[in-house]
């Protein structure tokens, strides 16, 4: 064993002498969970910019009625790529990235359980994304039809079948997601194993930071849901390449079967994306309220409850297919039940704030915005769960408003919060507080201009996924407001990117613990050394750094 260690050049030495090619080589061959985490997050933000540009093009097209900026097919490709990108190439890698970076640090481990699998997972995800975007250049196929896929991000059969989607565009969609799906599943296996087996001494399950608990639930959901999607996509490939008829309605296949498969994945996927948002908020809110999280065990129980209920509500995406009375009632009630554990979480966050000393720094601003917006998302979700009302609102702009409240108002806000919170740990530099405030307010106002108004378009009868709409429908004003909000959101993101650049051009050093926080990642240097902890820490409570900072009043006396 000692032989293998001696033959390698020490990494620190490499870093000092290396040029850019050596450093590129280091990043490409790395198996360090921190570097892979950063790669995941960076790739996620790269695709976020692409997906954002797609969104802005769509909003430009819809700003006025009967616009001719985009051809119908171009618009259809844009919303397909936008949805697919944001879910699979932005949401998934960023949540995996933060999980990768933080789980070992939070549980006092030196790496993930399977460091090489971790690297493989990242490359599979990235290649999946590349394959998806290759469709813009390479999918002319035998029939010369299409460039990027135009079947919508849930690719309903039979529209995605061979008969209605010719050329290879849809195949690129299938393959891209299938490949990145392998990455997600391997990442989930890694996170589960790491959490269950690599906790430092004293880190019992009931002392795990809530972040780690929630990522554990997310990982189980990924393991449960993604294989279903992969399976369904393989079936669709069989249909398209080998003449199978699973979803081929012209040969007696079943169009609704695809919807069941897709949403059996798709609904848990919503929680896969949303629970990490809860995870970031559950770490940030206590630190900036200077209080311990309120009702730790209830937070854990609520997360597990959400995970369990998440797999029993998928057909609420399908209230309009004619489910019949029994199934409609079942899925409506199950969906309403989701409101109970999510309500518990909201109340616990507010109770954590209550009586605290609330510091409105940028991460906290994003988290408070998140609480309010997630409340609205939850309530519009209750409206949508009422099946009779869903018959009206489903597939309208109300639904678009609802899930953007969840995914932007909920997830993206907490992701930005997490970026401001953990960026100092990852790089040793602070992000500018002033730019952070600009970012928050621009994005906040833009978000509400765009998506709050979409509720109105929905109840005024505007269906989603239309590239144009006639004048005289009464939708013009609302669409114009929506589109103008998109500009503000883009400005907000631009400010964020500028803040990232600033952090490197004019560094403001952070030190190991800039927020006076309580979890283990703040006990090591920023950025942490490759081995995280020189000596593995030992913990006695959920907030080990609190214990060290307040030895006369440690947590373990009270838990």
């Amino acid at each position: 064993m000692s032989a293998s260690t001696e033959t390698r050049v020490p990494e620190a030495a490499k870093r000092t002498t290396a040029g850019w090619s050596q450093s590129l080589h280091d990043w490409v061959t790395t198996v360090d969970h921190k570097r892979l985490g950063i790669l995941y997050i960076a790739a996620g933000f790269f695709f976020l910019v692409i997906g954002g540009v797609e969104a802005i093009l769509m909003r430009a097209q819809l700003a006025v009625p009967a616009n001719t900026l985009l051809e119908p097919q171009e618009f259809n490709r844009l919303f397909t790529m936008h949805g697919t990108t944001m879910v699979f190439l932005v949401g998934m890698p960023i949540i995996t990235g933060f999980g990768n970076y933080l789980i070992p640090l939070m549980i006092g481990a030196r790496d993930m359980a399977f460091p090489r699998l971790n690297a493989w997972g990242f490359w599979m995800f990235l290649l999946g994304g590349i394959v998806l975007y290759m469709s813009y250049f390479a999918s002319m196929g035998l029939y010369g039809a299409g460039t990027a896929p135009d079947v919508g991000w849930f690719a309903y059969a039979p529209l995605a079948g061979k008969a209605f989607s010719r050329g290879n565009a849809t195949d690129y969609w299938i393959l891209g997601i299938l490949i990145s799906g392998f990455g997600s599943v391997s990442g989930a296996i890694n996170m589960v194993t790491t959490t269950l087996t690599m906790r430092c001494p004293g880190m019992k399950m009931n002392r795990l930071p809530l972040f780690v608990w929630m990522m554990l639930v997310v990982s189980f959901l990924i393991l449960l849901a993604l294989p279903v999607l992969t399976g369904a996509q393989v079936m669709l490939l069989f249909d398209r390449f080998m003449g199978a008829h699973f979803f081929d309605t012209q040969a007696g296949g079943d169009a609704v079967l695809w919807q069941h498969f897709f949403w059996f994945f798709g609904h848990p996927e919503v929680y896969i994306l949303m629970i990490p948002g809860f995870a970031y908020a559950s770490e940030i809110i206590p630190v900036f309220s200077r209080k311990v999280i309120f009702g730790y065990s209830f937070m854990v129980a609520a997360t597990i409850a959400i995970g369990l209920v998440a797999v029993g509500v998928w057909a609420h995406h399908m209230f309009t297919v004619g489910l019949g009375k029994g199934l409609s009632v079942w899925f409506a009630v199950m969906t309403m039940i989701v409101g109970i554990p999510t309500g518990i979480k909201l109340f616990n966050w507010i109770a954590t704030l209550y009586g605290g000393k609330i510091l409105l720094r940028t991460p906290m601003l994003f988290c408070i915005g998140f609480i309010g917006q997630f409340l609205v998302a939850g309530l519009s979700g209750i409206l949508l769960s009422g099946a009779p009302l869903n018959w009206q609102l489903s597939d309208s702009y109300f639904v678009v408003a609802h899930f953007h409240y969840v995914l932007i108002g909920g997830l993206v806000f907490t992701i930005f919060g997490a970026c401001y919170y953990w960026f100092p740990k990852m790089t040793g530099r602070m992000l500018s507080e002033r730019l952070g405030r600009w970012h928050f307010w621009l994005f906040f106002v833009g978000f509400h201009l765009t998506f709050t108004t979409m509720h109105v378009q929905g109840v005024l009868g505007m269906p989603r996924r239309i590239y144009t709409y006639p004048a005289e429908r009464g939708w013009e004003v609302w669409n114009a407001i929506s589109s103008s909000g998109a500009i503000l959101q883009a400005l907000g993101v631009a400010v964020f990117l500028f803040a990232l650049v600033q952090a490197f051009r004019r560094p403001q050093w952070a030190g190991p613990d800039p927020w006076n926080a309580w979890t283990l990642e703040w006990s090591t240097s920023s950025p942490p050394p490759a081995y995280n902890f020189l000596t593995i820490p030992e913990v006695r409570s959920r907030r080990p750094l609190w214990d060290l900072k307040h030895p006369d009043d440690p947590d373990w006396e009270h838990e």
């Binding site: 616009n67 001719t68 259809n76 409206l383 009206q392 009464g474």
Partner: protein
């Protein structure tokens, strides 16, 4: 019925926001070039808040209840959040002290678990009741049967009891329940008339059923609500609700065979001898075509190409010359006819009243 009195009082007098819409459109027209060929023959806003039929009215009532409950929750929770943030903001001067650490309260957790459980129980029961009450699996006695077939990208509407087929514009009598059977020829569509009924998907290999009981005469718009390909956006739908005697007259007109006007004999011959007849039926001339809309009474419809354009002779010429000009990606091919032929054909088609 006392309930219908309620409704008139509550919803009858609200003015449509058309004037406002027109003004804003004029303003926005400055921002980008107005495109070609949108059907501008009125229509108004298909708002859920202006129901003109059952079950849309019942759904709105149910929805209002949900909205009220959610509004109360919103005010309570948002109020708590706002008060908390304002009251417990750290003061500008840091006293260096940590606030009291409070771990939790089983009683509070119990309270904010059980209260939502109570709400869910009540809401679940109400919802279940509404689902059962608003779905009808079999046609009620004395209902009007209509068969709706979704195509890429238009609606085929068949009145089986009356023996004719039309397209894109549904005519219904006031006060009579219409029982719709929804089927699809190709991909999944969704039939949505916000002011009359909730939407229901139109799925190949399946027959879904829905019912509508119009309570107000007039023209109301809707459209396909499930993404169905290139021209999903221009798969519009219109409903005309008539007084019963007007509906009877419309039915009698539709049952006639296509008009033969001597002046358009050439156009008719052209229609019968080109590929038109492969896809389109004109009763009394050729009944083999079923891929495109039935044209027997084309001019009785107000729009062309499922609402993509106003239906008049000029638009017909445009449409026959190049369908992509009006509806890019439409399944109808440009027939490459000469201008003279197109003029004759358009003349014939515009005689099909």
């Amino acid at each position: 019925m006392s309930s219908s009195r309620h409704r008139e009082r509550r919803f009858g007098k609200r003015a449509r926001p058309q004037a406002r819409a027109r003004a804003s459109r004029a303003f926005l027209g400055l921002l980008a070039g107005q495109g070609v060929a949108q059907a501008d023959a009125g229509g108004g806003t298909p708002s859920l808040f202006l129901p003109v039929a059952e079950p849309a009215q019942s759904i709105l009532d149910y929805g209002t209840l949900l909205v009220l409950i959610c509004a109360v929750i919103f005010v309570v929770v948002m109020g708590l959040l706002a008060l908390t943030v304002v009251r417990f903001r750290a003061s500008a001067v840091d006293d260096g002290e940590e606030p009291p650490q409070i771990y939790g309260s089983d009683q509070l957790e119990l309270a904010w678990t059980v209260v939502p459980v109570l709400i869910v129980i009540v809401l679940g029961l109400i919802t279940a009741g509404r689902i059962v009450a608003l779905q009808k699996d079999t046609p009620p006695a004395g209902s009007l049967a209509v068969r709706v077939v979704g195509h890429q990208w238009w609606w085929e509407l068949e009145y089986p009891d009356h023996g004719f087929v039309t397209a894109n514009e549904l005519h219904l009598p006031l006060g009579q329940v219409a029982f719709l059977e929804l089927e699809s020829e190709d991909v999944i569509h969704s039939f949505w008339l916000p002011q009359l009924s909730g939407k229901l998907d139109v799925i190949p290999n399946r027959t879904n059923t829905m019912w509508i009981e119009p309570q107000k005469t007039g023209m109301f718009v809707g459209q396909c609500a499930e993404y169905c390909g290139t021209q999903h956006a221009n798969m519009l739908l219109r409903v005309f609700v008539h007084a019963p005697e007007d509906f009877e007259r419309w039915v009698r007109d539709q049952q006639q065979e296509a008009r033969r006007v001597a002046a358009h004999a050439e156009g008719r011959a052209l229609f019968a001898t080109t590929a038109c007849v492969n896809c389109h039926t004109v009763r009394g001339l050729s009944e083999i075509g079923s891929f495109g809309p039935d044209l027997t009474h084309l001019m009785s419809r107000t729009t062309l190409a499922a609402g993509a354009a106003v239906n008049d002779e000029a638009r017909l010429v445009d449409w026959l010359t190049d369908p992509d000009h009006i509806k890019p990606g439409a399944r109808m091919p440009a027939m490459k006819l000469s201008d003279a032929q197109i003029a004759r054909l358009a003349g014939y088609l515009s005689s099909l009243e």
